[in-house]
Each structure stands twice: as C-alpha cells, then as structure tokens.
C-alpha cells in the first residue's frame, strides 16, 4: 500500500514538473495547464494525506484505501478529459467557422480582383 502511495506521489510530482516545464517552454498555454496541475495536486494530496483517504473511504463505504485512491485518480482524470473534450469541440467549431470565413473572403477577393482587372482593361 505504501509503495502504491509512493508511486502515485512520484507520478504526481513528475506530472507537475512536466506541466510546469511545458508551460515555461510555451508548449501548453497556461489556461490549459490548470486542469492538469489541479489533477496532479489532488493526487499528490490524496497520496500523502492518510486522514483524507480514510475520510473518503468511510464516505464511500470502502475499506480499502488503495481502491479509494484508484477511484479518485480515475474520477479526476475523467473530469480533466471531459474538460478537454469541451475545449476541443469549441476549437473545432471555431476552426470550421474560421475556414468558412477564409473561403468566403478569398471568393470575394478573387471576384474583386477580376473586376479591377476588367476595369483596368477598359
């Protein structure tokens, strides 16, 4: 059990380091790093705070603290993934609208260009 907790502690610390490093190198925008940092800190707190594990286990009616940790880790990451699905969906909508606008503007520009050429020819 202690080994599992230690592994989760190390994993959480690595995740925090990885996210902060990525933010510093501008690979992740700060607003999108918040979910990952929050998830990593929640896992870190859960893995180190035995009283919290016991309280959640009692609330869920479970005897096994390891199971509590796995359930909580799963729940945290499902929430993070859900948030990113929302973000990706919004980005896709924005991208499609943007590409449609680019296509329409290109159409207008081409027409304008042809009209100008015709006017210059006359």
């Amino acid at each position: 059990m202690d080994r599992l907790l230690n592994v989760i502690t190390v994993f959480s610390a690595l995740l925090i380091g990885l996210v902060l490093g990525s933010v510093r190198r501008a690979h992740i925008r700060p607003e999108y790093s918040v979910s990952w940092l929050l998830a990593a800190f929640v896992l870190l707190a859960l893995s180190r705070w035995r009283a919290l594990q016991d309280w959640i286990a009692a609330a869920l009616g479970l005897n096994d603290a390891a199971l509590v940790l796995l359930i909580m880790a799963g729940a945290v990451f499902v929430l993070v993934l859900f948030r990113f699905s929302l973000i990706i969906s919004n980005l896709k909508d924005s991208n499609v609208a943007l590409m449609q606008r680019v296509a329409i503007l290109e159409f207008h520009l081409t027409n304008l260009d042809e009209k100008n050429k015709a006017a210059a020819g006359n």
Partner: protein, 238 residues
C-alpha cells in the same frame, strides 16, 4: 431581381474532377443564366479547375471540412449575397439537373422552407445500394415520430431551401452526414419540408465517402446527431 437571379445552385465536390464539369454544363443547359457555385472541399485533383473551365464560380475551402462544413460555407455565402433560394446538386452526377425547375417551383408554390428531391416517391430508388436501402428504411421509421410525417428519402442531398432556412443553416448546420440531422434542425424551428419525386443516376466517377467501415459508423453518428439536435441548447455554435 428575376426568378433566376434569386436562385443559386450549390455543387459540393471533393475529388470530382471527372464529373463536376459535366454537372455544371448540364445545369447550364437546364437553366442557362443561373449562377452556379462549386464548393471545392480542398480536392487533391483538378476539381477546381474543371469547375472553372465549365463556367462555374468556385468557393475553395482552405482545408477539407467534410460535406456539412463545406455546404454550410455555401449557405453562408448565399445568404450574405442575398439569394432567395438555393438548390444543392451533388458534384458526382447522381442528381439529374432536369429536376431543378421542379424543386424551385415547389419552393415558390408551397412556401415551405425545404424541398427534397426524393428517389423513393412513385416507386423509384433503383440506384441505391442494399445497405443504403436498409439504412433509409431504418431512418424513415425513426424520423416518422420526430418529424410528424414520413420522409421517403431522408438521405437525399438533392435539396432546395428558401431564405428562411438559409438563415438558419448559416448559423447551425451539421458538420458530417448532414442530410438527416438537417431535417431535425428544421423541425426544431417548426419549419416545413416537402418531397418531390426525382430520378437519381449512378455516380459517374469517384467513390462514395461512405465506405464499408464508415457505413457501420454512419448510423451511430447520425443517431447521436439526431438525439443531440432534439435536446440541443441553441447557444454554442456561432
């Protein structure tokens, strides 16, 4: 504005170099002065050139958007340019342009928001495959209680819309496999559609986008899309 000036023909095309030119010419034969806009969904072949050579204007997508995104771009442009009616004819040659006047007349006469060219009215439907036929029967049965009437050919892309539907579709239109979902979008606004019998032809060149694998995914996607559109909160997509 005369009758033809109020109408725009949209031809969505993706890698239809071999067919799109003749589709444009056929439309011109039926209605000589009608403006034709080919929606080139970032084709990798000479679709754009073939369409321009045949005398159509081309709206070129900078990236492949899929049928719904591509058609919606055309609806947006048509709405901005002030067209009253838009009729969509597929770029693969399956839709016979001789039915365009019939669709336009029905739009004007019935004052409905959409007219669907249906291959299954009056006992037609000879050019739909077995799987598509099964799918159409399934979706027809599913849509009946949602729409409150039978739609004989819910997957037909041979459709005409008026300016009211154009305004709606410019804002909200399904991105993939749009035909069935678009009917639900219309129904949510209490808009009316009418079907007119049309004969469809086999595609001239190219391949259908609904491959064997996608034909499994298609009903799941469409079912989800229909369900989502029934529950949709009209606030997110701009």
């Amino acid at each position: 504005m005369n009758r033809v000036e109020k109408l725009l023909i949209l031809i969505p095309a993706f890698n239809e170099e071999g067919a799109v030119g003749s589709v444009v010419r056929e439309v011109r034969e039926v209605i000589p002065d009608v403006p034709i806009l080919v929606l080139d969904d970032c084709s990798e072949d000479g679709t754009r050139h073939a369409a321009q050579q045949a005398g159509a204007d081309v709206l070129p997508m900078p990236y492949h958007l899929g049928l719904g995104g591509c058609v919606q771009a055309g609806y947006k442009l048509a709405f901005e340019l002030g067209y009253e009616y838009v009729i969509r004819v597929d770029g693969d040659g399956q839709h016979d342009p001789r039915y365009i006047p019939k669709i336009l007349e029905t739009l004007e006469r019935e004052k409905c928001e959409m007219v669907i060219g249906s291959r299954f009215m009056n006992g037609g439907g000879e050019h739909s495959g077995f799987l598509r036929g099964v799918g159409i029967v399934f979706f027809r049965a599913m849509l009946r209680p949602i729409l409150g009437k039978t739609v004989h050919d819910p997957t037909s892309g041979f459709v005409g819309v008026n300016r009211t539907a154009l305004a709606l579709f410019s804002k909200s239109f399904p991105l993939e496999y749009p035909e069935i979902e678009a009917l639900v979008v219309l129904q949510r606004k209490r808009f009316r559609f009418v079907e007119v019998p049309c004969k469809m032809r086999p595609r001239r060149t190219g391949r259908t986008t609904i491959t064997a694998l996608r034909s499994l995914y298609y009903p799941i996607h469409v079912l989800l899309g229909v369900f989502v559109n029934i529950l949709k909160f009209e606030g997110r997509r701009k």
